[in-house]
Structures are given as C-alpha cells and as structure tokens.
C-alpha cells in the first residue's frame, strides 16, 4: 500500500463542532487511480487535504510510502510535499508572472538541481502534457485546459509518489475536461502514477480504477 489511512478523524471546532471525517480507514495501492466521490459536504475534499498534508487531522493515522506522516513537523511536511506529493488544484493555481516552463521548473529548482537539468526536465514534462510549443507562454496567454495541463506538469515534475487532484476539471469545458482526464489515465497507465482525485462528476468514474464514496464523513458503498 502506498497510502494507509486508519481511523482518520477531522473535526472543525466551533460553537457547534463539525465532524467532517468520522474514523475513515482505507488503503490505496501503488499505481492505483482512485476517485473520491460524494455529495457536497461529504468530506471528500477534507480527506484529500489530510492525505496531501495540507491540513492536520484531529486523530488517526496516515501512512504514506511506509512513513507515518501524522507527527511530522511543518518543516518535514514541506519537505515531504516537495519530494513525495504532487497537487493539481481546482482553479489552475499558476503564478501569473511565471511562464509555463518557469512554473514547471520551480519545484525542481527547490530541490537544488542544476539549471540545465531543471530546464531540460521541465521542458520534457511540458511536452508530455502536450504543451511543448507553449513553454514560454504566460498563464494569461493560455486557455483554461492548457493552464491545468501546466499545473499537472508542475505537480509531476518531481516524480511524486502520489498525485492529488482536487476537482481538476471543475472549471473546464467538457472537451478540456476530457483531455485532462485522459492525460491522468495515460500517466497512470504509462508510468504507473498513483493518482487520487476528488470529483463530483459521475462520468469521471470511467477513467479511474476505483471509487471511494463518502457520505457525511464516512466511507459508504456506492448508492447508499
């Protein structure tokens, strides 16, 4: 298992505490393409944020690639995110001043590789996502689908163990959405990339290996 989740709880404190995740347990095998699905407020994004170390759970365990990440310090989480995890956010999430190439090589730069190497690797990654001709374009010069592909290239450039995608097609037209999902499927098939994707589109099921259904913070069988 590349991910093991044990009795994961997330409660948002307040006047009335909100139990977003209620002792969720599951596992993801290396090379799986998993969709987290459920209605709005079901806890699917909350779960993704816990798995991606973007947020801290209230209790439980998360073991990624054999490492229990629950007790990580912020510094360790940052390092882990850089080297082991990749993210694709809902709304492209590119820096407006950076070209496609610069956006993609930024995570590589953080790992300390040479300039020649990070430019070469980033260029190759952009070619893989079909943007070889657009490497010097700024986000404002690209379509939504192209921007999302830049975000995918950026997420994959450090060869992460797991790629997390939080409703990556939510802001895209159907054609661009299909392109992105096909790209995910291709990456999963060709290089065995483990992908965990939050989606609310029922049609997206056809692209993934497995669906984890969430309802009211609990994993349920589909349709219940």
């Amino acid at each position: 298992m590349i991910i093991e989740v044990k009795k994961l709880k997330k409660t948002y404190e307040g006047r009335v505490p909100t139990h977003a995740l209620k002792e969720v347990s599951f596992g993801v095998k290396e090379g799986e393409f998993v969709a987290l699905m459920g209605r709005s407020g079901s806890g699917k994004s909350t779960l993704l944020h816990q798995l991606g170390l973007l947020d801290a759970p209230t209790s439980g365990e998360i073991i990624i690639d054999g490492t229990n990440v629950i007790d990580f310090t912020e510094k360790q989480k940052t390092e882990f995110r850089l080297k082991k995890l990749g993210y694709v956010f809902q709304a492209y999430a590119l820096l407006p001043e950076l070209s496609a190439l610069e956006s993609v090589y930024l995570p590589l730069m953080l790992t300390g590789v040479s300039k020649a190497e990070y430019i070469k690797t980033a260029t190759e990654m952009l070619e893989k996502v079909g943007l070889g001709e657009r490497i010097h374009h700024l986000p404002k010069e690209m379509s939504g689908g192209e921007q999302q592909r830049v975000a995918i290239a950026r997420a994959l450039v450090n060869k992460p163990a797991i790629l997390f995608a939080d409703e990556p097609t939510a802001n895209l037209d159907s054609e661009s959405s299909e392109t992105i999902l096909k790209l995910f499927k291709k990456l999963n098939k060709d290089i065995g990339q483990t992908i965990i994707m939050v989606t609310h589109e029922p049609d997206d099921k056809k692209h993934v290996n497995r669906v984890i259904w969430l309802k009211d913070g609990v994993i349920r069988p589909e349709g219940t």
Binding site: R81, F89, L98, E102, L110
Partner: protein
C-alpha cells in the same frame, strides 16, 4: 531556505508585475530617500554656516588669550614665531577695549545716540589673511595700515543697515560720519567712519576696528596683544590641538589657548540642537520609509495570498517565500537610493550651490557628506528589510487551506 528560488520569484514579480505599481513604488522610495538626505543636509549646512561664520569673522581656528591675572600677551618674540609654524597660514594680534561709542547727528548735544561696544585693533596686513571682515564691507572701505583717525564698524553698531539690533545701534550712521569713542582708560577720541561691514554674524557685527598703531597710542602700550587669533590650513581643520602644542613650544606657555570650537558656546549648543533635530527628523523619515515599504509589501501579499498558499503546497519553505518579498523590498530601496542619490547630487545640490538659502546665520547650502549618504543608505535598507519582512512573515504563517481557498 533556497536563495536562488527566492531571487527567481522576486525578479519575475518585479519584472513582470504591474509596471505602474513598480514605477510608483520606486518613486515613493526615491522621494523618501531624498527627504532623508535633504533634511539632514539642510541642518548640516546651517551648522556649517554657523561654524564658518565663527571661524571667518570671530575666532579663526585658534585664539590665544593672556595668562590668568595678565592683561596682555607680552611675549612678542613668541607671537612673531607663530607664523613660522608649518601649516599655520597667519596670525593676527588684537588689542581689545570696551568702549562707549556715541554719535551726535546734529553736533548740538541733543539726541545723542550711544552704546557700549568692543573696539579691536588690527594689523591690517595680518588681519586680512586671518579673517574675512575686510571682504564683508557693505559701505566704504576697510582700514589701511597707516589709518589713525579712521574706524570701521559693524552694521549692528551703525544701525540703518538691516541689522537685527537696530534699537541698540547708533541709529543710522554712514561712511564719513564722525563718532566719539570713550576708551576704558578714559581717553576720548573722534573717528571718521571709513567703512561699515556686515558678516551675517551678529557678534562680529557688534564690533569696531581701528589700526594697531592707533590703539597703542590710546592705550599707551607697544608690541603687546589682548588676543592673537591664528588661522591654519583648511585641510588641517580638526587638527587644532596639534597646533596648540606647537604654539606653546614658541614660548606661550601660560597663555590661555583655545580652539574656535571651545569658544562657540551659543553656536555650539545651536549646532547640537540642529544635529539632534536632524537625527529626529531622519529617524521619522526612516520610519515613514519603512512603513511605506511595509504597506507596499503588505498589499502585494494580500494580492498574492493564494499564490503563497500554492507555493507552500508545492513544497516551498516559508523562509524562501519570505526572502523573496524581502528581496523585493530591498530592490525598491536600492533603486530608490540610486535615483535619490542621482537627484540629490545632480539636481538639488547644484541648485542650492547656485541658490543658497538666506539664513540669519549665513548663506546656507546643503552639506551632503559621505557620512549622511552612508547613514541614509543603511537606514533605508534596514527599513526595507523590516518593512518587507514583517508582512511577509505574517502572510506565510497563514494555513495553506486558508490562503488558497480563503
């Protein structure tokens, strides 16, 4: 911390960000810097004008007074030897007498204007090498060596020449008028006013000068002096103590020898006050510059809140993000300094050299020293460091989810 990544982010943000904002930011930094330098330089100029007036018209660089319990300096040989010391330009011996000067405009004994002023004697050839009073004549001429019944007086004695103390003056006397002087030994003499001077130093402008020969005939003394003022080379300023030691070696062992700085009681305290005001205004200017940078970086961080979250999410350390904002702040400060120095040195300074400010203490230009520039540069960079760091630190402390999804 990844300095390379910080620099990369700072550079792309500056180069590809909003050009209008960049120009406005640099303009603000430039003005903040000019403000820092300008205020300090004006006060520096005032202090310099005060000091210059004291040196040029009152004390020169060193003043030798008689030993305690003595009325005069009597060692003529030593006085003559002073000028032979290398580095000393010249010396000028004075007799000083407290006098009562009166002016009877109508020669009828009515409405006589009188007052007590100091009359000094000068050896004209020596004096013109030591002080600049001879260059400050606003009416008539300075004395000649052989003048006996002639006197030059300051505008504060004359009155009617734009002095500050007209109510204490002779009420308006001019070249050619005759004034009566009663010396401290009781002797009375009449002198024709040969010239009236204005030095912009009211203490100097309250004095009158006659020739040494004339004063010796009044006082009945010869080859003595009430004081000797000594001028040293301009490039030796600040080395007065060294020359005092050498002067003592000529034989003036017990005489009271002081530097001009020790004698400028009022002006010294005024200088200190101006320096203090300058420091306070400089500190306020620095804080304003720091707050300006803080606001600029704060607004930038508010606008880039989501981007900061994304950078953290992809594994960028908080310290790297903070450093990129600090680098931006320092860039704004450094460019502000470069433009500011250029404006100061190539626009403002030449302007004030050609158009000095008319202050009561003298003509004031800007005194821009390397020290002022250095302190201002350091102040602005430190202000930029702090002003950039605080908002960046606070901005990066927000959780990733809060910054990305608000």
């Amino acid at each position: 911390m990844n300095i390379k990544a910080s620099f990369f982010l700072a550079r792309t943000t500056i180069l590809r960000g909003n050009k209008g904002t960049l120009i406005m930011t640099i303009l603000i930094m430039t003005l903040a810097y000019v403000n820092l330098i300008f205020i300090s330089s004006v006060f520096g100029g005032i202090v310099e004008a005060i000091n210059e007036q004291s040196i040029k018209n009152l004390y020169s660089n060193i003043v030798i007074a008689p030993a305690d319990d003595e009325v005069y300096i009597e060692n003529k040989y030593a006085m003559d030897s002073i000028d032979t010391i290398p580095g000393i330009v010249a010396s000028s011996a004075h007799y000083i007498n407290n006098t009562l000067i009166s002016y009877d405009a109508n020669n009828d004994g009515n409405d006589v204007q009188r007052g007590k002023w100091i009359v000094k004697s000068v050896d004209v050839e020596d004096e013109i090498r030591v002080t600049q009073i001879s260059d400050s004549m606003i009416e008539g001429e300075y004395l000649d060596s052989n003048d006996r019944d002639k006197i030059v007086i300051g505008k504060e004695i004359a009155g009617g020449h734009g002095g500050d103390l007209d109510y204490l003056s002779l009420g308006g006397v001019y070249v050619g008028d005759e004034i009566d002087i009663k010396f401290s030994n009781g002797i009375r003499r009449t002198y024709t006013i040969k010239g009236i001077f204005s030095t912009k130093n009211s203490q100097a402008d309250q004095m009158a000068f006659v020739t040494t020969k004339e004063m010796e005939s009044v006082l009945g003394v010869y080859n003595l002096a009430s004081e000797v003022i000594v001028k040293i080379n301009d490039d030796e300023l600040g080395q007065e103590e060294k020359y005092i030691k050498q002067i003592r070696q000529t034989g003036l062992v017990d005489e009271d020898i002081k530097t001009w700085k020790q004698l400028t009681g009022f002006t010294s305290s005024a200088s200190k006050s101006f320096t203090m005001i300058s420091i306070i205004l400089g500190a306020i200017g620095t804080v304003v510059a720091g707050v300006t940078i803080f606001i600029i970086i704060f607004v930038s961080i508010v606008n880039k809140r989501k981007q900061i979250g994304i950078l953290k999410a992809i594994g960028m350390k908080e310290s790297t993000i903070i450093l990129s904002f600090v680098m931006q702040a320092i860039f704004y400060a450094v460019i502000g300094i470069i433009f500011g120095v250029s404006i100061i040195l190539f626009l403002i300074r030449p302007f004030f050299i050609n158009n000095p400010l008319d202050f009561p203490v003298g003509w004031v230009s800007l005194k821009i020293t390397f020290n002022i520039i250095r302190i201002s540069n350091i102040s602005l960079v430190i202000a930029a460091l702090i002003g950039g760091f605080i908002p960046a630190f606070r901005g990066t402390k927000e959780s990733i989810l809060d910054t990305i999804w608000g």
